[in-house]
Each structure stands twice: as structure tokens, then as C-alpha cells.
Symmetry: C2
Subunit: 334 residues, 2 copies
């Protein structure tokens, strides 16, 4: 077999069948890709369905690669809806000439990430595009999960006086990708936070019940953009305390160097939650017992207005409006 991907690997013939049976099928523990997977859904509840395409550049970055990102990202989208993620599909768009060894490393990372998250990759598809018409590899994953009865999360449930919680520190994924892309290296290196959050969210749902209003993972657009979405969708204002926003010195230094604001930098293993004020301390205590919630803290509160706005109470006692960026600071980050 060639050590690089050729156009023939995408054309439906023997080369494609061999690539699938030698690379994808054993890693994912399935017989083949392409047909519909047939599943006995034993869990009861509403279905959650999500998809994301991953176009991160470069494919490998400090702390991860596109494969685990593609698994964790879609697992997290389901988890944020309150679902227990169960099954993933994966679609690969491979640029002709991609080293087969890179593809294999990425597939193995996906299999490991799926195992860690407790989900199964049950169906997939490979396409090959001509050299110069892609960029190494793009991966799409779609995911199916089940939302247990009684769980109903939505920004529309957010109420005045609720507390805004973050599960850890901001900006690691974006800065890890940027440092690789710009050739900067930091000591110690900034590593992506890519991780599956479904263990943490299950624990939060159990602890909080209906006091948990909404959760979302601040990926593209960062914490600021997610809070803006909460503000718009709830018709309330989200107020953050600048002094409470957790950023590691490494991420802060990298952001300073590149002129970026960590509030807008992508995360891939972080969540924001809005919870009712009376249970926030209890939920934080529960979250801190989980590896991915060890740094959980309250960063602000929900105010009646100005409607749809995000406010930042600064260290020196002022207040400023935080809005979405027009475009984005960092392209191709996930």
C-alpha cells in the first residue's frame, strides 16, 4: 500500500475498501464505513443530535490533534444539551498526498478519545480531494445522545440573580494552536485543553437538577461570545468580574505577545454554566471533585439589563460592554 493518500483511495474501488478495512474499521471496532449503522437505543429520553466540521490548522498541535478534537467537540455539544453522548459518525475529507502515517495517528487518537468519552464511532465516510483542493484533512463528526427524562437545559431558563460558573481557565486551546502556527514556543508550553466534558456535565446535572439552567462550551469566539449568546437568548444581561476570570500566566503571556484577548480565544475542554444562586456553591464543590472541574469558579451573575448585553466589571471598579467580535481573532482554530 502506498504511504500517501492517492485519489484512488476515494473512488469507491479496491483501494478505498482496503484503506477502510486496514485503517478505519479496526480502530473504530466496526466492520466497515459507508453503510448506515443500526443501533438498539435502549436508553429512554429525548434524542440530541449535533454536528461539527473540524478544519484546524495545523493538524497536530501542542496537547492534541484534529482527531481527538473532532470527537471531544461533538461529545461536548451533546453534553451541553444535557445529553448522554452515545454514538458518533465521522466523515473524512482527505487531501491527496497526505501521509498515511499521519492519518493513522489521527484515527488512533479518535478511537482513544471515543473510548475515553464512552461513545462509539459507528459510521463513517472517506472522500479524497485533489492536491491543492483541501488542506491535509478535514473531519466532520455528528453525534447522537439521549437526554434523560426531566433534564431540560436552555438559555431561556436563565433568570435574574443566577450565577455564571466556569469549569476552569480560559484560552488554552486557541493559544496552543496559535503558538504552533506562529512558530512561537512557550516554556512551559501552552497545551490545548481538548477533553470530553460529558463526565463533568453528568455530575453537574445530578447535583443541580432543575437549578442548572443552561450550559455551553465556549469554543470559537471564546467565553465572551458564549455569554453574549446567553444574553441574547435569555433577554437578560450577563455580568462578569474581571478579577474572577481564570487565565494561566502562560496563556496570558501568549495573548499579550500576540495582542489577543483571552475572553475571545477558543477553548475545547471548558464549559460555562448558569445556575440558580442558592445552589451555586454546592455545584461548584461537586465540580471541583472532577479532574476537568478542579478549577471551577463563579465568574459573574445574571442582571435584569441592559437586555442582551455582556458587562465586564473591571479590576479598577469600572464597567465595560463586551460584544462579539465582528469576524474573529483566530481563523481555523477548530
Amino acid at each position: 500500500m502506498s504511504d500517501r493518500i492517492l485519489m484512488g483511495h476515494g473512488s469507491g474501488g479496491r483501494m478505498m475498501h482496503e484503506l477502510i478495512s486496514s485503517c478505519f474499521a479496526p480502530a473504530f471496532g466496526i466492520e466497515g464505513l459507508g453503510d448506515a449503522a443500526v443501533l438498539d437505543l435502549k436508553k429512554k429520553g429525548r434524542l440530541a443530535l449535533s454536528t461539527d466540521s473540524y478544519v484546524v490548522s495545523p493538524l497536530f498541535f501542542p496537547g492534541g490533534n484534529i482527531g481527538e478534537l473532532a470527537v471531544n467537540g461533538t461529545v461536548n455539544d451533546l453534553a451541553m444539551a444535557g445529553a448522554e453522548p452515545l454514538y458518533l459518525t465521522s466523515g473524512f475529507i482527505i487531501e491527496e498526498g497526505m501521509p498515511l502515517s499521519d492519518l493513522q495517528r489521527i484515527i488512533e487518537s479518535m478511537a482513544q478519545a471515543a473510548f475515553n468519552a464512552g461513545v462509539k464511532i459507528v459510521a463513517g465516510d472517506t472522500k479524497v480531494v485533489d492536491k491543492g483542493k483541501g488542506d491535509g484533512l478535514f473531519i466532520n463528526t455528528a453525534g447522537v445522545g439521549v437526554i434523560p427524562e426531566g433534564v431540560d437545559l436552555s438559555p431561556s431558563h436563565i433568570s435574574e440573580g443566577d450565577i455564571i460558573i466556569i469549569s476552569g481557565d480560559m484560552g488554552r486551546h486557541g493559544m496552543a494552536v496559535m503558538s504552533e502556527r506562529s512558530g512561537l514556543s512557550f516554556a512551559p508550553p501552552v497545551l490545548s485543553d481538548t477533553a470530553a466534558l460529558n463526565g463533568l456535565t453528568a455530575l453537574m446535572i445530578k447535583a443541580a437538577g432543575g437549578s442548572l439552567r443552561a450550559m455551553r462550551d465556549p469554543t470559537r469566539g471564546g467565553v465572551a461570545t458564549t455569554l453574549k449568546e446567553f444574553a441574547l437568548e435569555s433577554g437578560l444581561a450577563m455580568e462578569m468580574d474581571e478579577d474572577e476570570l481564570p487565565v494561566t500566566p502562560g496563556v496570558k503571556g501568549a495573548c499579550d505577545l500576540l495582542g489577543l484577548d483571552p475572553l475571545f480565544v477558543a477553548n475545547e475542554g471548558l464549559l460555562l454554566a448558569v445556575v440558580s444562586g442558592d445552589v451555586s456553591e454546592y455545584i461548584l464543590k461537586e465540580m471541583r471533585a472532577h479532574t476537568l472541574g478542579a478549577g471551577a469558579r463563579a465568574i459573574g451573575r445574571v442582571m435584569p439589563g441592559p437586555e442582551g448585553k455582556v458587562l465586564l466589571r473591571t479590576s479598577i471598579g469600572g464597567t465595560r460592554l463586551v460584544d462579539m467580535l465582528e469576524g474573529g481573532q483566530l481563523p481555523r482554530i477548530c
Copy 2:
């Protein structure tokens, strides 16, 4: 708003939110893209899950475009498993500089195709890659369907003496794309056969019950490759009669001109089914009452051996082995 896609449209900020709320959300009848869709699955049965990425070049071809292909293709994958397709997700990887009007036309085609197929597009995602790192647009769709109780299709159920049925004539999609790509035009033009087959398959399942062993749509690799898969997965031989293989004069002429064999050319609205011999005539009669099955006919039979082989009984009375191609005749056809 710019009339072309810019990098900022993929970066999570206001431009992306505007693109989604102005283009995708109204066409698909959903509030936004990005979050997990929450669905009440009222139908009972096993779940079918499928995905495909679409990288067809060019994006527009006689008889269709990448958008309807992306809907019909995934609907068909579910239908071939015996499922009633219900929900789709869609992931867009857009090359910077793509005309917004092209994107809009494609989205409208998707919405129309979903309506025609009776499915809902419930979740999605948009990514933008730098000019020269993509090729206009790639679309991934994943689909969820429900397989009614009692329906159990699989090539492993294929038995000696079963009849191989085709729903119509071969090779139209591949030749439509090739004619566009090569600048050839035929009179009358060869149009893609892209269509959702779930109406036809529902009718076949109702008519045939357990006498319907397996169905598959011969896309990449064409009829020959699908029959080879049936042969390998059943451990039996598939024998075709050359004189029974339906090809329009237009497709035959185009194939002759380009040196292609219609047996290996992709179809996007065609199915192959294997049914028990005693009901084949009845099923064919039922199929012919459906627009997409008007040309249905038996093209061969299942033989005990040689195991895993596909045989073609030629017009002049000989028999030749038909195998998968090594790579493929036609790249980027779907």
C-alpha cells in the same frame, strides 16, 4: 453584507452569526446552527445512523447541485438500511471567496430536497477555510432514521436463487458530472438522477416483507462495485445478464466517448435490491407504480459460487468476471 464568503464568516463572531441567521436558519426552518438539536423520537424501532461528505466538482452539474446530492445521498443511505429517514445534520466547509449567491442557491436546494424527502435538517455547522485550501464548498450530512420493527435487511440474508433487481437505468449521475467537467454537452443532455429513494424503499418493504433481503444504492464504484460487496458479504456469487442492464442511449454514448464502463459509473437515485425469487415479479410490479421505480427490472440472480464473485453473462453467451476497479474511473463525483 459582502457578496463573497470571508474568513470572518467562520470565526464564531458576528459575521458568522449573521450568515447563519440570514441564510441557513430560514431555509432549514431552525433557530440557529451549532447547538445540539433536541428531538422527540416518537417512532418506535431501531435507530439507523449514517454520514457522507460531498466533494463533487463542479458544485453545479446538469440535473442538480452539491446541496440536493448531500440531502438525497444520506437519505438514501438510511433508506437502504430499511429505515424511515427523519433528521439530518449538515456541516459546511466553505472556501474563502465563494460567492454568497452560490451558497444561497445550494442551501435552497437542500431545503427543497429535504422537504421532498420528508426529512428535517435540524443541526448544522459552518467553517471557512482560506482561499486555496478548499474547493468552493464541501458538505457533510449525517442522518438519523428509524427502522420499523420486523424490518431486517442485510447482505447476509441473501440466498442462492434470489433475484437481483435494479430500480432504473445506470450511470446518469456520473456522466452528468463528467460532461460538465469535461465541457462536453450531449443532446439531449445527460441529467443526474439524484433523488431521494425513501418513498420507493418504503413501498418495497411493505410489498416484500422478509422476502426483501438487502438493498444498496450504487453510488461511487457503480453497480459492479455494489454487487461485488453483496457477493463478498453473502459469500455467494452475483450473476448479471448483460442484455438486461438498463442504460440510456445518452449515457451509453457518453461512456463510449470517454472510454468508461457504465457498470462502474456512479448513480445517485438508483437502487439494487436482492429479493427472494417467488416474489420478484410482484415486487417489480409494485416498484413500477412509483416514479423512481418505473424502469425497475430483474438483472440477474444469486448463484452458489464462485464465492464472492460477480459474473456477467454477455450478449454473445459468454461469462466474464467483473471485479472492483483498483482505484476508480471518476474522482470527485459525489
